[in-house]
Each structure stands twice: as structure tokens, then as C-alpha cells.
């Protein structure tokens, strides 16, 4: 779950020109906040079940820096707050107080290499390393996780193409990634489709996204051997979302995103919202 949240935030935070690597010496930096609160979750059979309201608030920094014209260094780090609501009983029984836990989350570092760039087409590959810097057993019962405690490696291929429809220019992006997870977690496939266009005198970029995460079900981690972790393994989800980016200048922009789960397994069922400020230098 935590890893999913992290990846979601990364995906939602990524610069829209991700398939076009940074120029040498240039950078793109973004700080943002990502929020999800859920009183439902998808079970392992995909059914929706209720739960006591839990929330995640992630404040993050995302940066890309062009090591060369073809090679970009990407970093993502975040501070995560996990909380659970208190419980008040209709019978008048004593209330149970809520709980909050916060810590540094897992850090992602990746390198993106431009494989091809011809006219309106760009293809790149990236290797992401997920460092287990978060807490995988936070809170009173160990379920307030800010990290999954595993070192994962994700190999991703990205394809981007711009194309016109009439006078309007659009961008299309897709990516596929294989996330190799350790410590008994199942490996995963990640797919993403995205399209965007600029409007309002090219000040406003509007994006639509569909991304999915599928487990290979090859891990050994389960409730039997995992000490009470929520959403321990075999997390799956398909999200539909959108983003609006308003560029005040060529260097400075703000963005707002929303993402809605369409289906899932072992994951919260609730929309996620985020907002951020980006600077391109």
C-alpha cells in the first residue's frame, strides 16, 4: 500500500515532459502535498469493505536534473503522515482515540536514459531504486506504515509522442514498468497512459491519465508471515485521473491532480488529491 502510494505520488508529480529528458545542467523541481482519506478498501477478492477512516498525507520533493542531454537523474523523497480516526460508539461506550504517525518515507532514486528522439517521438528507459528509508511498522500496532521495508528496483520504458488534432496540439505518453520487489513481496507490472494538451494561450495544461498496477502473485508474503501489515502484498489497482497545470511563467507553475480508483485489490478505495508548485531552472 505504502509503495503504491509512493508510486502514485511519483506518477502524479512527474513533469509532463518526462519522456523528454532534461537538458544537461537543467533541472525541474517540485514540492507538493498528496492526500488520501478512506473509509473503504478493496479486499483481496476485489470487493469493497468498510474500515475505520484512515488517511495519508504526504509532503514531497521531486527533482529532475540533466546529467547530460540523454541522462537525467531523478529523486523523490517525502514525509508521510498516517492517521486513523477515533471511534465514538452509539451505545455510549467510551470512545477510542485516534492515532497519528509520521516519518520520512521511502526514497526513490532513478536514472532515465533517452533511447530515441526523432521529431515528435521520444523513447526513454529508466531504472528506479526504492530505498527502504520509511518505517514499515509505525504506530501502536505496526500498521501505520510510511514505507514497506523492502528495496525494490523498477525498470521502466517510456514512449511519448506529440500530434495535432486540427489546430490543437496533443501529447500522448505511455509507459510500462516491471517492479522487482524484495523481502517476499510479489513483483509487479505498471502500465500508464496519458494524454494532454495546452489551452488558454498555452498557460493551462490539461492531462488525463489511466494507470494500472498488477501483481505477478509470486511473492510469499501474506498475513501468515507478515506481522499485521495492512495491504501487505499483491496490491492491485486501476486509477483514472486528471491534472491541471497552470504556468505562471515558463519557470514557475502550480498543479492540482485528482485520481479515482476504478478497481483494486488490497488497497484503499478513495480518491486521491494533490497539489504542488514546480520550478524549472
Amino acid at each position: 500500500m505504502k509503495k503504491y502510494i509512493t508510486l502514485s505520488v511519483v506518477l502524479l508529480t512527474i513533469n509532463t515532459s518526462a519522456q523528454w529528458t532534461q537538458e544537461k545542467g537543467k533541472g525541474y523541481y517540485k514540492i507538493g502535498a498528496w492526500f488520501l482519506e478512506a473509509n473503504e478498501h478493496y479486499t483481496d477478492t476485489g470487493i469493497s469493505d468498510p474500515n475505520i477512516t484512515r488517511g495519508h498525507l504526504i509532503t514531497s520533493f521531486y527533482g529532475r536534473f540533466g546529467l547530460s542531454n540523454k541522462l537525467t537523474l531523478i529523486g523523490y523523497l517525502h514525509y508521510t503522515q498516517v492517521y486513523q480516526n477515533g471511534q465514538r460508539f452509539s451505545s455510549g461506550l467510551s470512545s477510542i482515540p485516534g492515532e497519528t504517525f509520521a516519518s520520512l518515507g521511502d526514497i526513490d532514486l532513478s536514472l532515465e536514459y533517452q533511447l530515441c528522439k526523432k521529431n515528435s517521438l521520444a523513447i526513454s528507459a529508466s531504472l528506479l531504486l526504492g530505498l527502504p528509508t520509511g518505517d514499515d511498522a509505525g504506530g501502536s500496532d505496526g500498521s501505520y506504515q510510511t514505507g514497506d521495508g523492502e528495496f525494490n528496483q523498477s525498470l521502466q520504458f517510456n514512449l511519448g509522442k506529440s500530434f495535432p488534432i486540427g489546430k490543437q496540439h496533443f501529447y500522448f505518453k505511455s509507459s510500462i514498468a516491471l517492479n522487482n520487489r524484495s523481502r517476499g513481496y510479489s513483483d509487479e507490472w505498471h502500465f500508464k497512459l496519458e494524454t494532454s494538451t495546452k489551452i488558454a494561450k498555452e498557460k493551462l495544461l490539461v492531462l488525463g491519465r489511466l494507470n494500472t498496477r498488477q501483481s505477478l502473485q509470486n511473492g510469499r508474503l501474506s498475513a501468515i508471515n507478515n506481522n499485521g501489515s495492512i495491504f501487505a502484498n499483491n496490491v492491485e489497482v486501476t486509477n483514472l485521473g486528471g491534472e491541471i497545470i497552470y504556468g505562471f511563467t515558463k519557470q514557475f507553475s502550480v498543479n492540482v491532480t485528482a485520481s479515482f480508483p476504478l478497481a483494486g485489490k488490497v488497497i484503499y478505495k478513495a480518491p486521491a488529491l494533490s497539489a504542488g508548485i514546480a520550478l524549472e531552472l
Binding site: 507538493g32 502535498a33 498528496w34 492526500f35 482519506e37 473509509n39 478498501h41 478493496y42 479486499t43 483481496d44 477478492t45 476485489g46 470487493i47 469493497s48 469493505d49 468498510p50 474500515n51 475505520i52 477512516t53 484512515r54 488517511g55 498525507l57 509532503t59 503522515q81 492517521y83 486513523q84 480516526n85 477515533g86 471511534q87 465514538r88 460508539f89 452509539s90 451505545s91 455510549g92 461506550l93 467510551s94 470512545s95 477510542i96 485516534g98 492515532e99 497519528t100 500496532d141 500498521s143 501474506s222 498475513a223 501468515i224 499485521g228 501489515s229 495492512i230 495491504f231 501487505a232 502484498n233 505562471f248 514557475f252 502550480v254 492540482v256 488529491l273 494533490s274 497539489a275 508548485i277
Partner: protein, 343 residues
């Protein structure tokens, strides 16, 4: 511009305030007779106990109980729950109290009051000679059968019994013969019994009238085929319950259970049909009286077996009727995911 961005971030931060969920934990109030019986001999007393659990499943310390026994010609019960049986037949004991919302809550228990054979003579005979003792055994056995099954037709049956006994007794002693008469007259009226006995030996008669019940009890026990009374004249209800664990969530959780007091402790056994999803996070087992919450429930432990037969040995402080539900609880989400109703 910067102000707008700052407001956006602040808005998200505000969203993360810890709130409070309202949990509807209502359950029907439950009044239960905690030491039910199957049968009791006539002339015996038994202390009934009742426990009351309110609309939250919380045990009420000293509920105001109103006891009643029906029909009153067969048994009476005090407001402390002490039953006194008067005659054989089917008796229903009911107990009532008032719930927090003013509603009357009631529990009922029906059981048999068993007739007791009048075997004062057995004692008398026993006190006589060894030979007579064996005779009296015969008499006692026959008499008991008669008394238990044919109260209304005691006369004719008694005659048969008498003749049988007489055959045996006549070859022994005079006292035995008297025994036979006594047995016969016992079927008729107790007064006759006393009179007859008095004719034999006044001293032993007095003793007999006191000890009759005890003798009859043991005789009755044997006739019943062995009960759990241990000679107390009361057959306690079976000390186990069986049922099914069902999922109350989207997770797989199922199986059959047996909840049993083996004399020293309670065991909860799940059979081979049991299985639970291994994706269930933080799954714990509780016993409680409200399946909607584990407030007031006792935690048995973290679930470590997800497939097949296994057993939990419960703490000795737990009594068989203390808890109504087996609750499977997802701790991280604070939600029930499965339950079994014990009784």
C-alpha cells in the same frame, strides 16, 4: 500566485486532521440463564443464575431480575433464582429484566422435573441383612421403573412389582416381605408408607423418611442412564456448543467450530473446513457479546492458522456462557471480518 499555491497546500494539510467515526454498536439486549439444566428430580432445589448484557453487549453488574416458574403446581422459584420442584412434569422457568431503553427482556428455559421413586424400604431392607439387601436391590430397581413410567397406573404396576419382589423376598426374611408391602404402598400414598414402615421399626422409619430422597436420586440417576448431576438430582445442559464461522466481510473466512467445556477449561476447536484469507491484515480472535465491536471483548490472540483444524485453549476464568460470539477482527482497520454465534 504564491498565495494561491500556499493556500492549496494548506488546504491539503487541513484535510489531514484526525476526526472521529461514529460506530453503530447496537445489539439486542441479551438475558441468558447461564447454568441451564435438562432435568431435575422432584423435591430438589436448584440455584439458577442469569446474566444480562445491555444494548452494547456490556454485562450489567446487578440487574433487577424477576423469576417465574410455570406451572406453579410443579415448581416454585424465589426472586433469587432458587427453584424448588414439587411434582413431576415439564416446567418452564423464565426470568425478566428491563433494558436501558425500557424494554422488557426475557429468557426462558424448559426442563423436566422427574418423578422420584420412593424407596425408603430399600434402606430398611439394607439395614436388615445382606441377603435382604440383594432383594431390596431387586425391589428398588423394579419400583423405580414403575414409578418413573407409570405414575397414573401405579396400582396395577405396583402389583406386578410386588409379586415379583415377593417371590424373591419370601425366600429371604420377614423384613423383606415388609419391604414388598412398603413398596406397594409407596405407590399408593406416602402416608401408608410411613405407617407400614412404622410397623416394622419405628427408628428406621424416621431415618427412611429423611433419606428417601437421596436414595431415590441415585436410583433415578441410574434409570436415566447416567447424567451430569453427579448424584445431585440435576442433569446439567450439555457443556458444548457447535456452530459455523461466517465471513462478515469481503474476505474468505469460514469453518465449523466446537466450543466446549471439558471439565477444567474451555476449548475452541475449528475443524478441517476452516479457512481464512491470507490477505487479511492484522487478524485477531476475540470472544464477545457484541459482534460490532471488541469493546468489552476478550482477546484470545492473533490468528496464526489460516487453513485446517486447530484449537484454542481459553483462559480458565472464562465460563461457557460468558460470551455469545466468536469475533474475527481486523485490528488495523478496527472492523469485524467474521463471526460465529456460540449460542
Amino acid at each position: 500566485m504564491k498565495k494561491t499555491a500556499s493556500l492549496l497546500v494548506c488546504f491539503l494539510l487541513l484535510l489531514s486532521c484526525v476526526g472521529e467515526d461514529l460506530i453503530n454498536d447496537y445489539v439486542d439486549p441479551d438475558l441468558r440463564i447461564s447454568n441451564p439444566i435438562v432435568s431435575i428430580n422432584e423435591g430438589f432445589q436448584y440455584q439458577f443464575k442469569a446474566r444480562f448484557f445491555d444494548e452494547s453487549g456490556t454485562k450489567v453488574a446487578e440487574p433487577a431480575l424477576v423469576w417465574q416458574a410455570n406451572p406453579p403446581t410443579l415448581a416454585t422459584i424465589s426472586q433469587n433464582g432458587i427453584l424448588e420442584t414439587l411434582a413431576a412434569g415439564q416446567v418452564t422457568v423464565s426470568v425478566q429484566t428491563t433494558g436501558l431503553q425500557g424494554n422488557v427482556v426475557e429468557a426462558k428455559l424448559s426442563f423436566a422435573v422427574t418423578a422420584v421413586a420412593k424407596t425408603e424400604v430399600s434402606d430398611t431392607t439394607t439395614a436388615t441383612t445382606d441377603t435382604t439387601t440383594s432383594t431390596s436391590d431387586t425391589v428398588s430397581s423394579s419400583t423405580t421403573d414403575t414409578a418413573t413410567t407409570t405414575t397414573d397406573t401405579a396400582s396395577s404396576t405396583s402389583n406386578n412389582t410386588t409379586s415379583t419382589t415377593t417371590d424373591t423376598a419370601s425366600s429371604t426374611t420377614n423384613t423383606s416381605t415388609a419391604t414388598t408391602e412398603t413398596t406397594t404402598s409407596t405407590s399408593d400414598t406416602e402416608t401408608t408408607n410411613t405407617d407400614t414402615s412404622t410397623t416394622d421399626t419405628a427408628t428406621s422409619t424416621t431415618d427412611t423418611s429423611t433419606t428417601t430422597a437421596e436414595t431415590a436420586t441415585s436410583t433415578s440417576d441410574i434409570t436415566t442412564g447416567g447424567d451430569s448431576s453427579g448424584g445431585s438430582g440435576v442433569v446439567i445442559a450439555p457443556q458444548f456448543y457447535e456452530g459455523e464461522i461466517i465471513s462478515t466481510s469481503g474476505y474468505i473466512l469460514e469453518g465449523n467450530f466446537r466450543y466446549e467445556h471439558n471439565g477444567t477449561q474451555i476449548t475452541l476447536s475449528l475443524d478441517e473446513s476452516y479457512r481464512a484469507s491470507t490477505s487479511l491484515p492484522g487478524l485477531y480472535l476475540y470472544l464477545g457479546n457484541n459482534p460490532n465491536t471488541v469493546n468489552g471483548a476478550v482477546e484470545i490472540g492473533k490468528v496464526a492458522v489460516f487453513n485446517g483444524a486447530h484449537e484454542y485453549i481459553l483462559p480458565p476464568s472464562i465460563e461457557l456462557t460468558d460470551y455469545k460470539y466468536i469475533i474475527y477482527w481486523c485490528k488495523p482497520f478496527s472492523v469485524p471480518v467474521g463471526e460465529g454465534t456460540i449460542f
